[in-house]
């Protein structure tokens, strides 16, 4: 109906109706099996019944179709939508009169004789005819009882009294019955409001949810197994239907009821429990495709209920979660996914890997965090998988998470990434290694620092690696760093001074006492420029305990402006 050509058709049709209404307020179409007649003239005919528009009305007994002045565009559209809908259904499943009646158009009506119902009712069964004897109405006398006579007498006296006072006074029964009752029957203002409220509430209540409640009650009441299972089956169908309609909350609620019932029957009625379990199993199987259908429609979904349903389905819903992440990439489902993934992870952590994917960043991040939090023996192996990810965010998160695990294998896993082509990754690894502080990899780090390629590393990497060596308890590392400061001669070219200056910059961020001890060990330095830098470092160390260390207007960040940047 949204297509422009249809819009044009509707406009034209409305115009034609309006033109007709200028001549007559009503356009009456006589309906026959294959044709429409207007004022006795055949205006449309289609003899093939399956294509005949008149037959669509005629088959359900409509003999006249009327359009009245005031017919709106909306009504025309709704009318055609109805025809369209009906024409797609098998004839035995439709009755156009039923639909037209419910639509209750203001400016479209029809005539279908009541006796058409006789073609549909009474073919198989008849009721006994209602027998009356006309003579009974006119023959004989009905005797009043003595009480009736007394009432009449009493009334006569009372009426006389009333009439003497005022002829319009209400008679006996009205005095006695009507007046007090009227007060009881009159709707007060608050009652009218309550009535409105009742109607509104009725329209707002979820019919399916209420029905599910009802079926659960029926199941609860039924003692015999056969009807019990029948209603259980109906409930199961209803749950499926609600899911099909996208009413996830209702379905989730229904499951909750079923689970409650199961636990209530657990001790006393094992047979019923078995049936409920069977139903739950069957629903567990049916839910995934139904949920997927919902996601395919890309309509807003009640995420909270969806995750409850995921939990009900169990680990096999992980694929759905993956699909959800793909279909609703903008939806913030992190918190819900986190708790769900944790629950699934608690059952089998390796399952989580099945939906982790470079493209599903948020979900995969949650999965990685969940893996990192478990005590699973293989968690490092699982996380290592993400070190090879093509998504740098995931890679970096993996590095962070691995470095947080106090395991000698963690550093081994990270070291190769010090040679990663991406500077960002190398930086992250260097920082991670620094955090790891594991002597077992000292040799390898030393090797990295000694290597020519160290010059090519980013300032962060350099700082991280040097810091790592600085903290190593081994003399070998300490000696190596000392050589950085002492080795250059006073005439050494600027390039040879760089490692010393990088080290000094690194030491600025280390703990004062440790640095002082280190500097004491270093002793005299030949190169003047290095000495100057060390002097600056010493001043900083001295003043670091002083509150006036930072000059006014200079931020700590600026203060830390690094020599590395100058490169």
């Amino acid at each position: 109906m949204d297509h422009p050509s249809i819009g044009q058709f509707i406009d034209n049709l409305q115009q034609k109706f309006n033109d007709y209404f200028k001549l007559s307020p009503t356009l009456d179409l006589e309906v026959t099996e294959t044709a429409f007649f207007l004022e006795g003239n055949k205006i449309y005919e289609e003899t093939q019944l399956n294509r005949s528009l008149p037959f669509l009305f005629y088959k359900d007994g409509i003999t006249r179709l009327s359009f009245h002045e005031g017919l709106t565009r909306e009504e025309i559209i709704q009318f055609f939508q109805l025809l369209l809908e009906i024409s797609t259904l098998p004839p035995e499943e439709t009755d156009i009169v039923v639909f037209l009646w419910e639509m209750d158009f203001s400016h479209i009506d029809y005539f279908a004789p009541d006796d058409f119902l006789e073609t549909k009712i009474g073919q198989e069964t008849e009721i006994a005819p209602y027998e009356i004897n006309p003579a009974d109405f006119t023959q004989g006398v009905i005797q009043l009882t003595p009480e009736d006579q007394a009432t009449l007498l009493h009334y006569g006296r009372q009426a006389k009294i009333n009439q003497d006072r005022d002829p319009s006074l209400s008679p006996l029964l009205e005095d006695k019955l009507l007046l007090p009752s009227l007060r009881k029957l009159e709707l007060q203002r608050e009652e009218e409001e309550r009535l409105e409220f009742i109607l509104q509430k009725h329209r707002e209540l979820s019919e399916e949810e209420e029905t599910i409640h009802l079926l659960v009650e029926t199941i609860f009441m039924e003692e015999k197994i056969q009807p019990f299972t029948q209603v259980l089956h109906s409930l199961s169908l209803l749950i499926e239907d609600t899911l099909r309609q996208g009413k996830l909350a209702v379905a989730a609620h229904a499951l909750d009821h079923l689970l409650q019932l199961k636990s209530e029957f657990q001790k006393t009625q094992p047979e019923k429990v078995l049936h409920i379990e069977k139903t739950l199993d069957s629903l567990q199987e049916k839910f995934p495709p139904l949920l997927r259908e919902q996601m395919d429609q890309k309509k807003p979904l009640d995420m909270e209920s969806l995750f409850l349903l995921f939990e009900f389905i169990g680990p096999s819903s992980l694929n759905l979660l993956g699909y959800l992440a793909d279909t609703y990439p903008d939806q913030n489902i992190h918190d819900l996914a986190h708790s769900y993934i944790q629950k699934i992870g608690a059952q089998n952590i390796s399952l989580l890997l099945t939906i982790a994917d470079d493209r599903r960043e948020k979900i995969t991040l949650t999965i990685m965090q969940t893996i990192a939090q478990t005590d699973d023996a293989h968690r490092l192996t699982y996380l290592a998988r993400f070190l090879r990810s093509h998504n740098p965010h995931l890679q970096k998160e993996a590095i962070k998470l691995i470095s947080a695990i106090k395991d000698p294998k963690a550093a081994k896993l990270l070291l190769p990434l010090l040679n990663d082509p991406q500077a960002e990754i190398r930086k992250e690894v260097a920082r991670a290694i620094c955090r790891l502080n594991q002597p077992s990899v000292a040799e390898e780090i030393l090797g990295k620092v000694k290597d020519k390629s160290f010059f090519e590393r980013t300032p962060t990497e350099k700082k991280a690696l040097l810091s790592y060596l600085f903290h190593l308890p081994e003399d070998k590392a300490s000696e190596f760093l000392k050589s950085f400061l002492k080795k250059p001669w006073w005439w050494s070219p600027a390039s040879r001074l760089k490692p010393a200056l990088w080290l000094i910059e690194t030491l600025k961020d280390e703990k004062t006492e440790e640095v002082k001890i280190f500097l004491d060990k270093v002793g005299f330095v030949r190169n003047k420029r290095i000495r100057h830098a060390l002097q600056g470092l010493r001043i900083k160390l001295e003043s670091s305990s002083s509150p006036d260390y930072h000059s006014p207007g200079q931020s700590q960040k600026e203060n830390k402006k690094s020599i590395f940047k100058r490169k």
Partner: protein, 518 residues
């Protein structure tokens, strides 16, 4: 949510239409009590003229149209609820009985013209039985044959019929219009809408068809027969149309009790009463159909209850009572087994389950956790109770008269029934419901045929006299107890007592059925 301009215009027109209608109604009522020079009459007249002026400034005309069961004001459908239902009844009855298709006020309408119009209405009460032609639809049999044979000659025959009918109809409309005085700015259009007797006949036929339909559902031993629910829906819609057309008559048909089978009659009666109440509550059409179906099937669980328990004279023992109390959830089970359950409104399950739940939670079944009792269940609860206690059953010594039933139920409000819904129900059936047998001050006996919507007129219904003052049975006329004797200025007839037809060997329903059989 924003409102579409067309919606707000419709809402505005609805308000105007209802306002104007209420002014016409009150002036008309006042005209029955006071002369045009009375202060109250003048005040009502001024109110009406002012409203008319306001409308005619904005609109070119103020037109009421009755189309089937729908009332339109300036082409906009008017919706009625329990608050203003009496207005609908008033105008629908006036239009139907006088065969008015539309009533239009044009700018320039004067005070005198309105007075003359109202006085004309007052002085010329509508004739109930009017001879008129209705566009003849093919009979069911003929239609069936046509559907089977698809012969073109049937079409030709119908065309001839149609032409003849059309000419006659126009002539008749013209003649009827000429009966009206000429009001320059008030125009009345007459239509041929079928004889009242014919419509009552149709209503009766639909009543018995519905009974048959229900029997079809239940004819297989203890199992619901999967009839097409579309037919049920259509049947309910048709019943509803008849309720709108002639509520009193349909309510009168509910006095048919125990014909063929108690549960069948009872279920259909409950359906009719529920539809009437639903209409007054302002339910939407779709909701009405759902309510009707739910009421229709409310007692379906009783199919599982042994007849010896259902019809046991006297008190049930504890075991039997427990069996009876299973029928609500047995009903749910039955409905769930319907292969056409797909089209069954879910509300039907609720009503089957909850129609014995009470407001004070002392009914049955007792829920384990469910909190809400559905609105439809509460509606059916009221009408089910009413119909049940007005029917004689083996376990009840005597049935209550409709008036006694209302009085009894009034005492149970809040405990058994929802108080607000009950009040709306009571205002529908009134204190003196259709089908009540009454004794008049004249010594005549009569049956209530038509109730009044105005509470002060509840005991002034229209009655069919069935005996004369000496007690001789007569096929008497229909009299309106609200009519005042011009000479004495008093009511010539008043109800002095409600009677139980069983005690006099009468069957009220016979009179309703006899009316259409002639």
């Amino acid at each position: 949510m924003t409102t579409k301009p067309s919606e707000s215009k419709e809402a505005h027109l609805t308000l105007m239409g209802l306002e104007l209608l209420s002014k016409i109604y009150y002036l008309y009522r006042t005209a029955h009590l006071y002369e045009p020079n009375n202060y109250l009459f003048i005040q009502q007249l001024q109110d009406l003229l002012q409203t008319l002026d306001e409308i005619l400034v904005k609109e070119k005309k103020a037109q009421f149209q009755l189309r089937a069961t729908t009332l339109l004001f300036n082409k906009t459908k008017l919706k009625f609820s329990h608050v203003n239902y009496y207005l609908f009844r008033f105008i629908k009855d006036e239009f139907t009985n006088r065969q008015i298709a539309s009533l239009t006020f044009y700018p320039g309408v004067k005070e005198k013209e309105v007075i003359d119009f109202i006085l004309f209405l007052k002085s010329s009460p509508p004739k109930k039985e009017k001879s008129q032609l209705k566009p003849q639809a093919p009979s069911a049999k003929g239609k069936k044959e046509k559907l089977d044979k698809k012969e073109k000659k049937d079409v030709d025959f119908q065309e001839g019929d149609r032409e003849k009918g059309e000419v006659a109809r126009r002539e008749e409309e013209k003649a009827k219009e000429e009966e009206w005085p000429n009001f320059p700015h008030i125009k009345i259009e007459i239509t041929a809408i079928g004889e009242l007797a014919e419509r009552k006949k149709n209503a009766t036929r639909v009543y018995f068809l519905s009974l048959t339909h229900l029997k079809e559902y239940t004819s297989q031993k203890k199992e619901l027969n999967p009839k097409n629910l579309l037919t049920t829906k259509r049947m309910i819609q048709t019943l509803f149309d008849h309720i709108i057309e002639n509520e009193s008559f349909l309510l009168g048909m509910t006095s048919i009790k125990n014909h063929d089978e108690y549960t069948l009659n009872h279920s259909l009666n409950v359906c009719i009463l529920a539809l009437g109440l639903g209409r007054r509550l302002g339910l939407e059409r779709k909701e009405l159909v759902e309510l009707g179906i739910s009421a229709f099937f409310h007692d379906v669980g009783k199919l599982d209850i042994p007849l010896e328990i259902l019809n046991k004279p006297g008190k049930l023992d504890e075991n039997e009572r427990q069996v009876i109390e299973t029928h609500p959830y047995k009903g749910v089970q039955k409905l769930l087994q319907l292969p056409h359950m797909k089209g069954l409104p879910l509300q039907a399950l609720h009503v089957a389950m909850e129609h014995h739940c009470r407001e004070d939670d002392r009914g049955y079944p007792r829920y384990r956790g469910k909190k809400n009792i559905s609105l439809f269940s509460k509606i059916v609860k009221i009408v089910d109770y009413y119909d049940a206690i007005t029917t004689s059953r083996p376990y009840r010594k005597k049935s209550f008269t409709p008036a006694e039933a209302i009085s009894l139920m009034m005492d149970k409000v809040g405990k058994e029934f929802d108080p607000v819904l009950f009040k709306v129900f009571a205002s529908m059936v009134t204190l003196c419901p259709v089908g009540t047998l009454v004794l008049l001050n004249t010594g005549e006996m009569a049956i209530v045929y038509e109730t009044k919507t105005e509470p002060s007129q509840f005991l002034r219904p229209k009655l069919k006299l069935i005996t004369d003052e000496q007690g001789h049975k007569i096929d008497g006329p229909i009299v309106d107890l609200a009519e005042i004797d011009e000479e004495t200025k008093a009511y010539p007839r008043s109800i002095v007592k409600f009677l139980n037809p069983e005690e006099y060997g009468l069957k009220v329903s016979d009179y309703f059925v006899a009316e259409v059989r002639g």
